[in-house]
């Protein structure tokens, strides 16, 4: 973290959709780091003000709150971070963020902050939208009535941010009497109503029609209402939902493809170059067949994760995601969940770990647990390289759209299995509480591309950081296990089957034999418990694909897979065994980080254990069933 003038922290607090994060991005110039609140996995950002505003001030962006009386876990974290942050203590100063077009409602939090005893500066955002409505805001009157400084922020151009920083520094410098903020005790309904009515009245007095401002041809609310007529229409709403989601998921493929090819070929040629540098040396073999082969196999799908994260952030920022969640509320409620489950389940297609964290926004404990229960069943991006490899094998030499179609079937299959699991979970879950759904539909806004890219980059990087070390260590283990003890042997087959991994594999082979595979795949499946994508890198190491470098790694891995034989001489990878593997990967929970997060987030290791055992057992039985079923039908 960069040095800052303040020892504590200035907290940004406001309702969801108040423009809080946009303001934070302006204040910091996107120089921030995303951190976990200690003891939990809710992340929020801490940064310092940009140098162009002078001496740095440390800022914290907290999760959005509708009031300081929390009704979901992420609201709870926001309030805790405000009062008793383990590192920064109680916030030195609070920037209460309110949307000018929603002033009355957003002033509730401002009032609560003031009553808690914080030093508050009110930042009123989206002044530009207010002007579009032909209105202006009397900041002086508002400041006088509230008893705290008020700064107006232009939502589009960022005007007012410098004034805000100056005000922050002035207030921090004025070391007046020390403040002792306290957590509020729950207000009586009459009190809340009274404060809201007062805020209403105040908003009416400070926001006025302004004759100098011509009402814009279309203000944001009128525009939003027009868009909603289509996007929430009984027919067109569903059509556009399918189109938007279809576009998001297909872009994961066609946009990412060139980047993936470049990464794949880059690693292949690098590995080939290393092998040529010192032929026959154990170090070169380790670097090429161990490290480079496994990293290449995994980094190749980073572009896809990035695009998925960017797409989700884009939808979130534009305001569409709230509509999508609203639309999904009905179908989800049949399964005991709510529309709030939509965003976690959508992010689960990138990675289950952040999705489990996103589930904190779900208020009801029951629907939150159900959502978290089925999150691991969504087709996360770690499964992508596995599917990509197995489908490449199944449809080798056929037009690529066939594999694409098969992948779509896999995605839908996973959704159906998720729905079944939710229905089962709905029956066995003992927690009973009332499910409710209240979702604010913000006005549609054009997302700021730079901020979207930054957010997607953050999420991708944190993913790579988490997966990277695991992949490295396992690559080392798998490589050593398949290379030693008799690495001098000329015969590759002997070398492999007599290696440590080979010996271990033969021990566990009886378990995997019903799936129609041998110990080599078994090793891959076991190592995939660290992270699914390790399956591909293990296969790459086991079949030492970096050895022949004419082609890209995936292609040569498929070529090696085609040649691989079982002990009895029949092919190892057949349509039946590969389909069985795909089914296994759809259901299995081979991700210990997911289990760790599930246990921490639910506060119940029983829940996490149940998930782990149930999904893996179901996956194994389903895979065995599919393999034998296909063979019975004559498909080998």
């Amino acid at each position: 973290m960069h040095s800052a003038v303040n020892t504590g922290v200035v907290a940004l607090v406001g309702s969801p959709n108040s423009g809080k994060t946009t303001l934070f991005n302006w204040l910091t110039g996107l120089r921030y780091s995303t951190v976990n609140y200690p003891g939990s996995t809710v992340d929020y950002s801490v940064g310092v003000t940009h140098q162009r505003f002078g001496d740095s001030v440390r800022l914290m962006d907290t999760p959005g709150v509708y009031s300081l009386f929390p009704k979901s876990l992420d609201e709870d974290v926001a309030v805790k971070a405000l009062h008793q942050h383990p590192q920064f203590g109680s916030a030195e100063l609070v920037l209460s963020v309110a949307d000018a077009t929603q002033l009355a409602r957003h002033l509730l939090v401002t009032r609560q902050l003031l009553e808690s005893g914080f030093r508050v500066i009110l930042a009123v955002t989206m002044i530009d939208l207010l002007r579009e409505q032909g209105k202006s805001l009397d900041a002086q009157l508002l400041a006088k009535e509230l008893g705290c400084p008020v700064v107006l922020i232009d939502g589009r151009l960022g005007g007012g941010v410098l004034e805000l920083v100056i005000e922050v520094r002035r207030r921090l410098g004025a070391q007046a009497d020390s403040i002792q903020p306290r957590r509020l005790t729950q207000w009586e309904p009459q009190k809340t109503e009274g404060v809201i009515r007062e805020a209403d009245d105040l908003a009416r007095r400070v926001v006025r029609e302004d004759a100098r401002l011509k009402q814009g041809a279309s203000d944001a609310r009128a525009r939003t209402a027009r868009w909603d007529r289509t996007l929430l229409h009984p027919i067109w709403g569903v059509v556009s939902f399918v189109l938007v989601m279809g576009l998001l998921f297909t872009s994961i493929y066609w946009v990412a493809q060139p980047f993936m090819d470049a990464i794949d070929e880059g690693f292949s040629s690098l590995a080939g170059w290393v092998l040529e540098l010192a032929p026959g040396s154990i170090v070169a073999d380790f670097l090429a067949n161990g490290v480079l082969a496994s990293f290449g196999a995994v980094l190749v799908f980073v572009p896809q994760i990035f695009i998925l994260f960017a797409g989700i952030t884009l939808l979130e920022e534009s305001g569409y995601l709230a509509r999508a969640a609203t639309m999904m509320d009905r179908p989800f409620s049949w399964l005991g969940m709510s529309g709030r489950s939509f965003v976690p389940l959508l992010s689960a297609h990138a990675c289950a770990v952040p999705a489990m964290m996103a589930a904190r926004a779900i208020g009801g404990r029951r629907e939150r647990l159900l959502t978290m229960f089925i999150i691991p069943l969504m087709s996360c991006s770690a499964r992508l390289p596995v599917y990509a490899l197995l489908l490449l094998f199944l449809f080798y030499g056929q037009p690529s759209w066939i594999a694409g179609l098969a992948l779509t079937v896999i995605y839908f299959g996973a959704l159906v299995i998720g729905a079944i699991a939710a229905a089962i979970g709905n029956r066995i879950l003992k927690v009973q509480d009332r499910s409710f759904f209240l979702m604010e539909l913000p006005v549609y806004r054009r997302p700021v591309l730079r901020a979207v890219i930054r957010r997607a980059y953050d999420r991708t990087l944190s993913y790579v950081r988490r997966a990277g070390p695991v992949i490295f260590v396992l690559a080392l283990v798998v490589w050593a296990g398949t290379t030693f003890p008799n690495n001098q042997s000329e015969d590759e087959g002997v070398r492999l089957s007599e290696s440590y991994a080979g010996q271990l594999g033969q021990l566990v082979e009886p378990v995997f034999a019903p799936m129609g595979v041998d110990w080599r795949v078994g090793i891959g499946l076991i190592s995939a418990f660290a992270a699914r994508e390790v399956f591909v890198s293990s296969l790459a190491v086991v079949f030492s694909v970096a050895d022949d470098n004419e082609d890209s790694m995936r292609e040569s891995l498929v070529a090696r897979m085609t040649e691989a034989k079982l002990a009895d001489g029949s092919p190892l990878f057949t349509v039946a065994s590969v389909t069985g593997l795909i089914v296994f990967f759809i259901i299995a929970l081979q991700c210990l980080s997911t289990t760790a997060v599930a246990s921490r987030e639910t506060g119940s290791w029983k829940f996490a254990l149940l998930q782990l055992v149930a999904f893996n057992l179901a996956a194994y039985l389903a895979a065995v069933g599919v393999v034998h079923g296909l063979r019975a039908l004559g498909v080998h």
Partner: protein
Amino acid sequence: MELNVDAYSANPFIEPALAQEVASPNGRSLADQAAGFSGVIRGLAGEVLVVDRLRELGFVAGHQITLKGCSPFGDPLIVEVNGTTVAIRRQEALCIQL
């Protein structure tokens, strides 16, 4: 738009007593209104958690409320109150007395 009391008896998570309390016997809740309805909130009644959150979102006695329509699958309803557009389930709309 009909009052769907059956949704409550079919929902095992709600105490029957509570369901009766929120089921608005006089037919004057927001859930009884047709799309396009506009009126004034008389009060809120129902489960504390839901009512508290509704209040914090600006659903307060005396406020003008408009029922703009419903989402494609019929539920939730799209409601506008005090310049804010909110999606709420019919179940929550029952808490809003007119």
